[in-house]
């Protein structure tokens, strides 16, 4: 792997963890990971630490399966940040709407939180952002996406703002 591809892959790793981490609480509750693994993911996402692809693919296997499905259609390299972003912003919700995999068994309220939404920040409080998703307001954690301001657009997954959008 060239140095360029190595850096690209690292950026994709960090971005993937940011998008995938919000559902780790569900993964933990379902017993697919233990508390120690959850804590390690949380530390990594807070401190921008890398977690290797092998571990990420094991913990977030369904997300990877869906990203691979998408890349079969688009021909994109899956270890690229833009591919990860495209998946979460353009394809993720389609898989939910199609009841792919375990979404089949998920209650509607959970599927709603699992969607990745584009949301506008309407207020910044000490412990959260308040974002507007459609007509609804939701408080979301600032943990993954610090330094966003009122008026910024962010992607939101579960109860977290994930990244600022252009």
């Amino acid at each position: 792997m060239s140095f360029y591809h190595y850096i690209m892959s690292q950026q994709a790793q960090l971005l993937f963890l940011k998008y995938a981490f919000p559902c780790a609480g569900i993964t933990l509750a379902r017993g697919h990971i233990c508390q120690k693994e959850y804590d390690k993911l949380e530390r990594a996402v807070k401190k921008n630490q890398l977690i290797d692809w092998q571990t990420l693919q094991k913990i977030f296997a369904p997300a990877f399966r869906r990203i691979k499905k998408m890349s079969c259609l688009t021909g994109q390299n899956i270890f690229d940040a833009q591919t990860i972003r495209d998946y979460y912003l353009k394809y993720h919700n389609k898989f939910i709407d199609e009841n792919e995999g375990s979404y089949k068994y998920a209650p509607p309220a959970l599927k709603q939180l699992c969607r990745v939404e584009r949301a506008k920040i309407i207020d910044v409080q000490s412990d959260c952002y308040i974002v507007k998703i459609g007509q609804k307001l939701r408080p979301v954690s600032k943990m993954i996406c610090l330094n966003a301001k009122v008026g910024d657009w962010v992607s939101v997954h579960y109860g977290y703002a994930v990244e600022k959008l252009k």
Partner: protein, 66 residues
């Protein structure tokens, strides 16, 4: 692990909700947006009430987790 399962609001004092989970686990959570009342099932994350779960879906949610 509370944030991934619905809890039930047992008390609301100003913007502070007391939320009860299975095995009588009790958590305090802040209500920042939305209207909630005692008896509602909610999802709490990082000390914040983020969403209401219709009562009909609570059992389905708990089954999904198991």
């Amino acid at each position: 692990m509370c944030l991934a399962i619905p809890g039930q609001i047992t008390k609301i004092k100003t913007c502070q909700a007391t939320v009860k989970y299975p095995q009588n686990d009790i958590k305090q959570a802040k209500i920042i947006t939305g209207s909630y009342k005692t008896g509602d099932y909610v999802i709490v994350q990082a000390g914040l009430v983020i969403e209401k779960v219709p009562k009909k879906q609570v059992e389905m949610w708990n089954k999904f987790i198991q």
